[in-house]
C-alpha cells in the first residue's frame, strides 16, 4: 500500500482533459449564442463546475498514484461534456442542474469505486453475494417505501424528491462481476465438448444452471417491470460473457435464436412489445405516424435534417421529438452536428470500447479479463442498441446512450465501470512488475 501513495504523473490524461474543457466551453457557447437556450447563471456554472470535477478526478488518480489507463477518464469526460451540452440544448433548465448534480454524484461514485474494495480481486471471492445483491437491487423498485413509479414503469428507487435511481443500471455491473467470477472457476467444464466427458459424472450443462437461474430471475423481474431495454442489455451481456469464457460460438448462437424466438413470442403476448415491433416495421404508416410511431418518425426527420455537416448547434429543430434528451440524444446531435459529428461521436465510443478490450487482453487472471471485457461489451452493446434504435436498424428500446443521455443512474453506473476498468489496468501494470 505504501507504493500507492507515491503520486503518479498522468500527463496524457491531463492533456486530453484540456480538450474536453475546450469542448464543453465551445458547446455551451454555441448553444447559448444560437439563442436555443437563454443565458442564465446555470449556463456558466454548469461548464465551470464540470471542468472543476474533471480536473479533480484527474488529480485524485494522480495523487493516489494510479498507474492505470490514462485514456478512459478523458473519453468518459468528453462524452459527458457532449451530454451536458445536449441537455442544455434540449432539456428544460431544471434538468440541466439535475444532470450537473448527477455528474458530481457520478464523480463521487468513481472515487468510491476506486477506493472500495481496497483490493479489487476480492470481488472474485464472494460471487453469490454479488448475484443476490443484484437480484435484490433489481427487485427493489417493487418495494413499498423506496420504490417509485415514473412514466408508467416501476423501475426506480428514490429517497429524496429529486434524485431517483434506476437500479437496473447498477445491476449490470453486479451481473458482470458474478459472471466473471463464476466463469473463471467453471469455464473449462463449460467449454469441454460433451462427447469428451462421456464418462464423467456431471454433464457440463449442469454448470450452466446457476448462471441460467440468475438470468431467469433477472428476466422475470424485467418482464414484471416491462423494461424491454434492460432485458435486452442483460441478455446481450450474458451471451457475450459465456462466449468470452468458453470460446464456443454455439452457446451464443443458441442464445440469439432463443432471443428471437422469445421476442416474437413476447410480441404476440405482450401488447407493449408488439407495438414496438409494429412501429419498427412501418413507422411512417398512416395509423402509426401520429401515434406510437411519432417519436421514431420525428427522430428520423431529425437525422434527415442533419445531412453531412448538420444544421448547426442550436439551429436544428429536434425539440419536436418527445423526451429527446433521453431516448433520442443521438438523433438530435446528428441533426445539429451532421453525419460528420455523428461519426466522430461513434468513433469516440469505439476508442473507449477498444481501450477497455485491450485492458482485458492484458489482464493477469481470467476473472479480471472477463470483468474488463464484460464491462466494455456492456458499454458497446448499449450504445449500439440505442443508436441502432434511433436509426431504425432495430426496434427502439428505452436504453440510454452511455454518458450522453440525460439520466443519473446511467451516468453513475458508467463512471463506476470506468473506475473498474482503470483499476484492472492498474493491477495489470503492477503485477507485470512496474
Amino acid at each position: 500500500m505504501v507504493a500507492r501513495m507515491r503520486p503518479a504523473f498522468r500527463g496524457t490524461e491531463l492533456g486530453l482533459i484540456f480538450w474536453v474543457a475546450l469542448l464543453v466551453g465551445l458547446g455551451f457557447l454555441a448553444v447559448i449564442g444560437a439563442g436555443a437556450s437563454a443565458l442564465q447563471a446555470s449556463s456558466l456554472i454548469v461548464p465551470a463546475t464540470f471542468v472543476a470535477v474533471a480536473v479533480a478526478l484527474h488529480l485524485f488518480l494522480a495523487v493516489r498514484g494510479s498507474r492505470g489507463d490514462q485514456l478512459l477518464l478523458p473519453l468518459a469526460l468528453g462524452l459527458t461534456a457532449i451530454g451536458l451540452v445536449m441537455v442544455e440544448r434540449l432539456a428544460p433548465p431544471v434538468l440541466l442542474l439535475q444532470q450537473l448534480t448527477w455528474t458530481v454524484v457520478a464523480a463521487g461514485a468513481f472515487v468510491a469505486a476506486t477506493l472500495i474494495p481496497r483490493d479489487l480481486t476480492v470481488l472474485a471471492r464472494y460471487k453469490y453475494s454479488w448475484a443476490l445483491a443484484g437480484i435484490a437491487l433489481l427487485a427493489s423498485p417493487l418495494l413499498p417505501v423506496i420504490g417509485r413509479e415514473l412514466n408508467g414503469a416501476r423501475i426506480w428507487i428514490g429517497l429524496g424528491d429529486l434524485l431517483n435511481f434506476q437500479p437496473a443500471e447498477a445491476v449490470k455491473i453486479l451481473l458482470v462481476i458474478f459472471f466473471a467470477s463464476y466463469l473463471e472457476e467453471n469455464r473449462e467444464l463449460l467449454a469441454s465438448a460433451p462427447a469428451r466427458r462421456l464418462g464423467s459424472v456431471v454433464p457440463p450443462l449442469a454448470y450452466l444452471v446457476p448462471i441460467v437461474l440468475m438470468w431467469v430471475l433477472a428476466m422475470g423481474v424485467m418482464v414484471l417491470q416491462k423494461d424491454l431495454g434492460a432485458t435486452l442489455i442483460f441478455f446481450g451481456i450474458f451471451l457475450a460473457m459465456i462466449y468470452l469464457a468458453t470460446g464456443r460460438a454455439t452457446y451464443a448462437l443458441t442464445g440469439v435464436v432463443l432471443l428471437l424466438a422469445g421476442g416474437s413470442l413476447a410480441a404476440r403476448v405482450f401488447a407493449h412489445v408488439g407495438a414496438r415491433i409494429d412501429v419498427w416495421l412501418a413507422p411512417f404508416s398512416d395509423e402509426l405516424r401520429f401515434g406510437a410511431g411519432y417519436q421514431l418518425v420525428q427522430g428520423l426527420f431529425a437525422l434527415g435534417n442533419g445531412g453531412l455537416l448538420g444544421a448547426g448547434l442550436g439551429n436544428g429543430m429536434p425539440d419536436r421529438i418527445p423526451v429527446v434528451w433521453s431516448d433520442f440524444v443521438f438523433a438530435a446531435f446528428t441533426e445539429e452536428v451532421g453525419f460528420i459529428g455523428a461519426i466522430g461521436l461513434l468513433a469516440l465510443y469505439l476508442v473507449l470500447v477498444f481501450r477497455g478490450m485491450s485492458i482485458a487482453l492484458r489482464a493477469p487472471t481470467p476473472f479480471l479479463q472477463l470483468l474488463a471485457a464484460g464491462l466494455s461489451f456492456g458499454l458497446a452493446f448499449q450504445t449500439l442498441v440505442i443508436v441502432g434504435g434511433n436509426a431504425k436498424l432495430i426496434p427502439l428500446t428505452g436504453v440510454t446512450l452511455p454518458f450522453l443521455s440525460y439520466g443519473g443512474s446511467s451516468l453513475v453506473t458508467n463512471f463506476v465501470i470506468i473506475a473498474l476498468l482503470i483499476r484492472v489496468s492498474d493491477i495489470t501494470v503492477r503485477v507485470r512488475g512496474g
Binding site: G27, L71, A124, L348, A363, V431
Partner: protein
C-alpha cells in the same frame, strides 16, 4: 440576427466540431501507441502459471503448465484448482492469490508445510517470476509475465 454575428456563431460551431475531432484523433493516437507497445508485451504470456518441475510417479506430469486463477487452491483433494497428488500434501494445502497488484503464496495450515525457494513459509509471501514452490515431493516453478 445580423450576418456578422451568425458568421461568428458558425465559427464557434465549427470550432466545436474541430475540437471534437482533435480530441478523437489524440485519443486514438494514444490508443494506437499503447496497442503498439502492448503488442510486444502480449507476445509474452500475460497470465501466471505454476510449471511442474519436480514430481514422482503418482504426481502431476513434469513440465505441465497449470494456469492460475485470481484465487487458486493447492492440495491433494480433487476439488483443488491445482491438484498435488502427494502423501505429504494436505487436502487443502496452500493458496496462490492475486492481491494488491502482486501474487502471493499462503499456507493453509498444512501438516507438512509449504516451502518457497527452500524456506518454509509462516505467513503470506510474495511470489516473483522463477520462484520455486515445494509441497511434499512436488516442486512447482512460478512463472508470471514481467
Amino acid at each position: 440576427m445580423d450576418v456578422p454575428y451568425q458568421i461568428a456563431l458558425w465559427g464557434v460551431r465549427l470550432a466545436f466540431l474541430v475540437v471534437l475531432y482533435v480530441f478523437l484523433i489524440r485519443a486514438f493516437g494514444s490508443l494506437w501507441r499503447a496497442l503498439r507497445t502492448e503488442a510486444e508485451l502480449a507476445a509474452r504470456p500475460a497470465l501466471a502459471y505454476l510449471v511442474v518441475q519436480r514430481t514422482h510417479a503418482q504426481g502431476p506430469r513434469a513440465g505441465e503448465r497449470l494456469p492460475l486463477r485470481t484465487i487458486s487452491s493447492l492440495g491433494r483433494d480433487a476439488g483443488n484448482d491445482v491438484v498435488v497428488n502427494d502423501e505429504a500434501a494436505s487436502a487443502r494445502h496452500a493458496t496462490v492469490t492475486l492481491s494488491d497488484g502482486a501474487w502471493w503464496l499462503e499456507d493453509q495450515g498444512s501438516t507438512n508445510g509449504t516451502l518457497l525457494n527452500g524456506q518454509r513459509i509462516v505467513r503470506r509471501e510474495r511470489l516473483r517470476d522463477g520462484d520455486i514452490v515445494e509441497i511434499g515431493r512436488v516442486g512447482l516453478r512460478f512463472e508470471a509475465a514481467a
